[in-house]
């Protein structure tokens, strides 16, 4: 129909001239993220958590500059000390050599059999010299019929009867040996010493003595802190605001050092795993069909792998030797096994979004698959991803703590919160601070991340938008 040509004048194809629309009254537009931020700030728990996490980051990053003690330096004269600040101690002179007291002319063992129940309590139980934390020297009078003695000590409480004498610190063979020096792990405070005669079994009668030990520091150790220390002086000791552990290491320094390991794993592992998960999930969701089937069945397979076993297998496969840190392996195992939930999540989202009108439109406009995925699909899954990430972080921190707790993680002397807990639990009843502080930090961090995750989920939920 050549005669029915519609005329198409050239002007019709000229661009429109720019024109300014009349100003309209409108409040400033709020983007999705701005709105989410406002709602997050309104959530008190989440906001507090964010501050806690910020403080934690500061603790980890700035801590080593503010608290410069070496986390593996041992001060054996101050093991398992509770928190202290600016403590002072008396410098003690080097102790005179101890000589055991032997009662000459007294038999080592009685000539005839003696019923231990009838043995008397040793008389004149006394200190040889003033007791100090360098040593408590005791003496007593020999007991007729004894073939040896036992010296007990108990902190604080006076023993009521012979079953509550405490720890047997000295076992003395021979009825004529009538002195003892106790040097075992003495600390400032009150101790009750008791001595019991024995012959085979112990006598039920005992003599008791109270020792009041003031905080002191051996001259040698004092010289390490200040070179000019003299016996009799009082010196200010290194402060340990969170106390020391069972080898006299500063707990605060160890917690700061341990935070580095815990947060390194805790942040890096979820991010790497998240990236992997997004990639797999995005591909599966976008392509669908065979690719989706294949990738998702593989995801199911990885999900079924037991983590601990896999972790140990990787350690073996990497040829881990003694002294190799378990951290890289732990990271590898965590990333290799924990991307699956993210992949599922992203796949679901992408499958759903793929059908959305704006995606269809972009496709019709000829957008390439990569553009579609990166420009339209993934950014719209970001909300879910972010929430899932915030929940994955505490989980990773917890896993690290758990693995270090059972000895698969960091190698000594590097501390991590988990290994600190493991060290601390041994002495939990006698010096609880060694366990409480690392456990508190783990709990606080995990709680903060979880609350933040909750807050984020609410904030990023489009159905709860404050300004429709």
């Amino acid at each position: 129909m050549a005669d029915a040509l519609i005329p198409m004048p050239h002007e019709d194809f000229a661009p429109l001239s720019r024109q300014t629309l009349a100003p309209r009254a409108q409040r400033p537009s709020l983007s999705y993220w701005q709105d989410a931020w406002i709602r997050l700030r309104r959530n008190r728990q989440a906001w507090a958590s964010l501050w806690i996490l910020f403080a934690l980051l500061l603790f980890t990053v700035a801590g080593p500059w503010l608290w410069t003690l070496d986390p593996s330096e041992q001060t054996l004269s101050r093991v398992s000390e509770p928190p202290s600040w600016h403590k002072e101690a008396l410098v003690l002179p080097p102790p005179a050599p101890y000589r055991e007291e032997l009662r000459s002319g007294w038999p080592e063992a009685p000539a005839t059999a003696v019923d231990p129940q009838t043995l008397a309590a040793p008389a004149n139980f006394a200190f040889i010299e003033a007791p100090s934390i360098q040593g408590v020297r005791l003496r007593w009078d020999p007991v007729p019929g004894a073939s040896g003695y036992l010296v007990y000590r108990v902190p604080e409480r006076q023993p009521a009867d012979s079953s509550a004498l405490g720890i047997p610190v000295g076992e003395i063979q021979g009825g004529n040996h009538v002195s003892f020096e106790d040097t075992f792990n003495l600390k400032a405070g009150t101790y009750w010493y008791s001595v019991v005669a024995r012959n085979g079994d112990e006598s039920p009668r005992f003599s008791g003595l109270r020792a009041e030990l003031v905080d002191g520091i051996p001259l040698e150790s004092a010289r390490q802190e200040s070179a000019s220390a003299q016996p009799g002086q009082r010196v200010r000791l290194q402060s340990h605001p969170l106390g020391t552990d069972s080898l006299g290491r500063d707990l605060l320094a160890r917690l700061i050092r341990g935070a580095r390991v815990s947060l390194f794993i805790g942040l890096l592992a979820p991010f790497l795993a998240g990236a992997l998960g997004i990639l797999v999930g995005g591909l599966a969701g976008y392509h669908g069909g065979r690719v989706d089937q294949l990738l998702m069945r593989f995801t199911d397979f990885v999900m079924a792998l037991p983590f601990l076993l896999f972790m140990i297998l990787i350690q073996v496969a990497c040829g881990m030797e003694a002294g190799d840190s378990g951290i890289p392996v732990m990271l590898l195992a965590l990333v290799a096994l924990s991307w699956t939930s993210m992949a599922r999540l992203v796949r679901g989202q992408v499958l759903q979004l793929r059908q959305a009108d704006y995606v269809q439109a972009a496709r019709l406009l000829g957008a390439r698959p990569m553009t579609l995925l990166l420009r339209h699909l993934l950014p719209n899954t970001l909300g879910v991803v972010l929430v899932s990430l915030t929940f994955a972080i505490p989980q990773a921190i917890f896993t690290e703590a758990f693995l270090s707790f059972i000895g698969l993680g960091v190698v000594p002397p590097t501390p991590s919160w988990g290994s600190l807990c493991n060290d601390g639990i041994q002495t939990f009843l006698t010096s609880p601070h060694e366990f409480v502080f690392p456990a508190l930090l783990i709990s606080l961090t995990v709680l903060a991340f979880n609350l933040l995750g909750d807050g984020l989920r609410d904030a990023l939920d489009p159905r709860l938008r404050s300004h429709p």
């Binding site: 054996l76 036992l150 079953s163 792990n185 003694a322 002294g323 190698v411 009843l429």
Partner: protein, 505 residues
């Protein structure tokens, strides 16, 4: 119980856990009694001379399947132990028997061993050399009888499981769940069954966790804890439990590795490491079990010498740290090792205390010498394997006496002792110990042993760290538990449960 026995073949056992189980389920010619002296076991009586010994076996001794225990079972066991392919670490204990060493070196056939059974109930032993302590050996795990038919049936698997062995002792192993629990019940065929008052010995949990053990005790699930952790002591006394100290006779030491390619072969390096070690600080602040003695020599303080204690007759100076000297040794070592000292590997057990001790040394070496120490924590079986294969630089080790003579400790430094895991070799030490073995004069003999010990210590074949004391406790109703340094420990063969209104067995 802290550790799983690697296996329960008496010929191959080397550890106290195995000795504990074997000591209750097997019996040798003699048993160690409550005073640490040999008392009649399968043998009812014996005659000893400088040239040999004759043991008269009891007619009523029975295996756990009811068959009689005969002298042939001993002959078979001893011959098998000494064969090179058995590769028993403790074969050297039998070297006083004629031709034993030659057999273990593969030079002679096992049938040439100086032991014979003229009849079912007589065992004749010929000596290679006079052996004053031979009677003490006849209660050791290595000398237990072995039934030929059973041993042949299971071969290498003999002793690997409760149903792959047979028992000659007061108890039989009725169940063994590997890594978890053990149960020994009274052996109905044991000759002295009337004297055994316990129906069964149960080990409900095998764990190195001292906390867990303590809780078992508190819940009355166990009646005895043979070793309390240092952190449990105060807890135990607060609960009103009565603690008892027991010096178990063991010496703990660091074994250095002398195999080719190991930095620890270097004497100056060993001297530098030893010079930063303070035994008394270590004992008081790191070990912290009262009664523990700082390490001195290979032979511990309690061991009897000729007239007095061996250590009093052959004195050693206590070791003191000397950081200036350590620096000098380190410099020398660095020159000899080509400028750089590689990181060292420290092999230890998987207990909290083992880790703490390792970390103490790790820091001491790092701070004073700048040497890195890698800590290798292994479960018992694995640690033993690594020690035997020489996969360590320093192994934290323990040695308990096998018999009551300083030789049991000094022999650690000899070339023929498989427990010399670092493979320290010194011809002079070997020669002096050999000379001591054939010396009849006790004073001279001990003098030779002391000289051998001094050489090994000067060369730092080992670095003794401490002489152990353990704290233990029983429930009030468990009586007559025997603890002794030599023989199965703890010894429950005479134990009984008395009624106190509490829980029974």
């Amino acid at each position: 119980m802290s550790q799983e026995p690697p296996q329960l073949n008496g010929m191959k056992a080397t550890d106290i856990t195995s000795f504990f189980v074997l000591g209750h389920t097997q019996e040798g010619l003699t048993r160690i009694d409550a005073n640490g002296k040999p008392s009649p076991g399968v043998a009812r009586s014996w005659e000893l001379s400088d040239h040999g010994a004759v043991f008269h076996l009891r007619n009523e001794a029975r295996w756990s399947d009811g068959q009689p225990i005969t002298a042939r079972d001993f002959v078979y066991a001893w011959r098998t132990v000494l064969q090179p392919r058995t590769a028993s670490s403790f074969a050297f204990l039998l070297f006083p028997v004629r031709n034993a060493q030659a057999i273990s070196e593969g030079k002679l056939d096992a049938s040439k061993l100086g032991v014979s059974a003229p009849d079912d109930h007589t065992l004749k032993v010929e000596f290679e050399r006079p052996c004053a302590y031979f009677l003490g050996l006849t209660s050791a795990a290595i000398t237990y009888p072995i039934r030929e038919d059973i041993h042949r049936r299971f071969g290498d698997k003999y002793g690997a499981d409760a149903n792959q062995m047979i028992f000659s002792g007061p108890f039989l192993l009725s169940s063994w769940i590997h890594g978890a629990s053990l149960k020994m019940t009274r052996n109905p065929h044991y000759w002295n069954r009337a004297a055994i008052r316990l129906d069964a010995i149960e080990v409900p949990a095998i764990t190195p966790d001292t906390n867990a053990k303590f809780n078992f005790f508190k819940d009355r699930k166990v009646d005895l804890i043979d070793t309390l952790g240092r952190d449990d002591l105060l807890k135990a006394t607060q609960q009103g439990y009565k603690l008892r100290p027991f010096a178990d006779g063991s010496v703990l030491f660091l074994a250095f590795n002398f195999r080719a390619g190991r930095a620890t072969r270097n004497l100056n390096l060993r001297k530098a490491l030893a010079a930063v070690f303070d035994p008394s600080e270590y004992v008081q602040r790191v070990v912290t079990i009262p009664g523990t003695q700082p390490g001195l020599g290979l032979v511990p303080r309690w061991m009897q010498g000729h007239r007095a204690r061996f250590r009093d007759e052959h004195r050693l100076e206590p070791r003191r740290p000397d950081f200036a000297a350590a620096k000098r040794y380190l410099e020398a070592a660095r020159r000899e090792l080509g400028g750089r000292i590689p990181p060292l590997t420290w092999l230890t057990g998987d207990t909290a205390q083992g880790a703490r001790e390792a970390e103490y040394f790790q820091q001491a070496f790092r701070r004073h010498l700048g040497i890195t120490l890698h800590i290798d924590k292994q479960i018992f079986k694995q640690r033993l394997a690594k020690m035997n294969q020489g996969r360590f630089d320093i192994a934290s080790s323990v040695w308990g006496p096998d018999y009551n003579d300083p030789l049991t400790f000094v022999e650690l430094a000899t070339a023929w002792n498989a427990a010399n895991r670092g493979q320290y070799r010194n011809a002079e030490v070997d020669q002096k110990v050999r000379a001591a073995q054939v010396t009849a004069d006790p004073a001279r003999r001990l003098e030779l042993l002391a000289q051998a010990e001094a050489i090994a210590l000067d060369e730092l074949a080992f670095l003794p760290t401490h002489e152990r004391t353990v704290m233990w406790m029983t429930q009030p109703w468990l009586k007559n538990v025997i603890r002794h340094p030599i023989g199965p420990d703890p010894d429950l063969t005479q134990a009984s449960i008395v009624s106190t209104g509490g829980r029974g067995p």
